[in-house]
Subunit: 403 residues, 2 copies
């Protein structure tokens, strides 16, 4: 894989692992039939898909019948919210859903739509570091709450939520209040997979989303864990594939690609995290030492080992990204999925930034190819660009710009 | 591509074109970034996606802004029905939808769900050959009809509908009745693409579904043409990709794969159709000469050049498929997407078959690798298997079993 420049936008998407791509090719050529077909090529394709499903299930420590493969992380998130809401609204459990204020847009937009349908959405706030406010969250739980969805690790500021603690609170609430299995607990683990513990047993969630394109796997495939016994309404209907939970001819190469990518990522995780943590903290330290009037967004330690997010007073994040781009260094202002609108990041506003500071943010996300020397080049460029931009900026620098 | 046996199930899915796979690999390695990212690798990925979109648009003779890429043909069909129904129900146009009785399950199941939501569905019947009954269809059109969805070429019996005629009827109805652009006209062209004329200009449809996995392209990507100005509610929400009509990180390799596959298929179409027609009619003739008490399902000439579908009196289709499978000949009883339930094909029941005869059907679909000698081997085996199965069958053969 020949890449020009320095790619530091691994949270937007990861390049595909070459071993994954090779496997996908082999599979694509050898298992060409429709996995639903009765004949031998169909049955062989089906078998490979089921092996991939088992592989994913084993990694998550769940049953393979609890794993389905939607067409993206977004589709999996949508299915979790719409599927649970629509399948359970008719019961006495109610129409109340809780999500955090720093969810990915796939969750936020699903919640917005459910609101229009008559569901009530509560937004659990986070503190200035982007960690869920546990006390406020507890107070939001109600007997008619059917679902809680909290992002495991945030895609913009990398903040990691105390999943086990949240799961325990929900579990306690269930036994002391509803006496049912509600509220259900979903997490978007798209950024977490490959970096954090994703054992369902340990996390205690009921539904979990993973995305192929964030774990050096293929784009166009996601994974949703749905705990056995949970009623979910499919969002895509037709031929009844994936146990009736997601219709459409299964893409054997995408599914096998996701499973293999997850296996590789989890296998590398421990060693890679040590390496990335060192790089991350080196970069944070170096930026803080070399550039003034900046704020680290997100928690200093409870964050993904590959995530750095700074706000630079008096700077437009978009200008920063484009100047760095010019120097062949590829970063982001925030979420790639949010670059289609010009609104300041809802995540940064949630942790208390002013719209100006939120607009002046830069997200640097590291990955397998990132070297220490890349970060030195980045900081050198950053120092130059920021000095230059600030010299021409009309915005007055205010050291205490946080709300 | 080394394939053992004789694959005659191209309607279930096509193996990927090796040129398409090669292109997808190159693209996957070279354009790894998120197409929504602002930086150069992101912009380059975006550019390639837009080139693919333009390629598809040029083939369909439409604008590239009228093309989006859902995650499958099924998702595209679902989006057409749900998206149009939900976006237009609030207007005065109404809640009435017409589909044919021989739609793919992706349409049938969507319609079933819309029915539960309060939409009224009318089913336009087909004649004994599987051709839409135009007079009955005309009578179903109402002022509150918002959508008509008719499958271009049927996936089980290959019957081709008179699309231009249907489009003209709808157009006349619009000007003489509603005076609006309603009812809209959608067609599922998953089986038609690569075999029939798919120029939107000539067909006169407002929405059209294509599927990568039926045109020697990748599985896991579809294409939906949505005529400019049509209100459609996205079914997957999040980052606002595909002009807000389908959220989720775009898979550059799947999109480029579909576009390239379509280009190749349309390029080969004329020559390949001549070859396939000859093979198809050779096979129909040979089966009819060698096996008695059989019925050709679907129209004898107005059918896809690669489709053969027979009912064999006194035979279970599933047994037939499995005996052929044992001889390494791979066919289908009907739609692969229907093999997950045990109900007789709704398509075969629609053209007047008894449940018994519908259960005794065999679909043989030809493709690029099919040779005359494959068909001779098939007929030899068929003669043997059917004679054997009939000798042990308890079902009495009735030559006039059609209703």
């Amino acid at each position: 894989m020949k890449k020009k420049g320095i790619y530091l936008d691994y949270a937007a998407t990861t390049p595909i692992d070459s071993a994954v791509l090779k496997l996908m090719n082999d599979v694509c050529l050898s298992f060409y039939a429709n996995p639903t077909s009765l004949h031998e090529p169909g049955r062989l394709a089906k078998k490979r898909i089921e092996e991939a499903r088992t592989l994913v299930a084993n990694i998550l420590e769940v049953k393979s019948s609890e794993i389905i493969f939607p067409g993206s992380g977004t589709e999996a998130d949508n299915l979790a919210l719409f599927g649970i809401a629509h399948a359970n609204k008719h019961f006495h459990f109610g129409k109340h859903i809780i999500i955090s204020t720093i969810e990915h847009k796939a969750i936020l937009e699903s919640a917005e739509r459910l609101k229009k349908e008559g569901f009530e959405i509560s937004y659990a706030p986070v503190d200035k570091d982007g960690i869920l406010d546990i006390n406020k969250f507890k107070k939001l739980l109600r007997e008619d709450t059917i679902l809680v969805s909290i992002i495991y690790a945030n895609n913009e500021i990398g903040t990691i939520q105390p999943m086990k603690e949240i799961a325990k609170i929900i579990k306690n609430f269930r036994s002391s209040h509803s006496g049912t299995n509600y509220p259900l607990f979903h997490t978007d683990a798209c950024q977490a997979a490959g970096a954090l513990n994703i054992s369902i047993k340990e996390l205690g969630v009921d539904l979990m989303t993973i995305n192929g394109s964030k774990i050096y796997g293929p784009k166009g495939v996601g994974c949703l864990f749905i705990k056995k016994g949970i009623k979910i309404e499919p969002q895509i209907v037709g031929g009844g594939q994936e146990w009736g939970q997601r219709a459409g001819t299964e893409s054997i190469s995408l599914i096998i690609g996701l499973a293999e990518a997850l296996k590789i990522a989890v296998g590398k995780q421990e060693k890679e995290n040590v390496r990335l943590l060192k790089l991350r903290d080196y970069l944070i330290d170096k930026i803080e030492k070399n550039i003034s009037y900046i704020f680290l967004n997100g928690h200093r330690t409870k964050r993904l080992p590959n995530n750095i997010n700074f706000s630079f007073t008096g700077i437009e994040g978009e200008a920063l990204v484009l100047y760095l781009d010019n120097a062949k260094i590829y970063c982001s202002t925030g979420s790639a999925c949010s670059s289609l609108d010009l609104l300041p990041s809802h995540v940064l506003l949630s942790i208390g930034l002013t719209p100006e500071l939120a607009h002046g943010s830069l997200r640097i996300t590291l990955g397998r190819d990132t070297k220490m020397s890349d970060l030195d080049i980045l900081v050198n460029q950053l120092v130059k660009i920021i000095s230059n931009l600030r010299s021409i900026s009309a915005i007055k620098i205010n050291k205490n710009e946080r709300k």
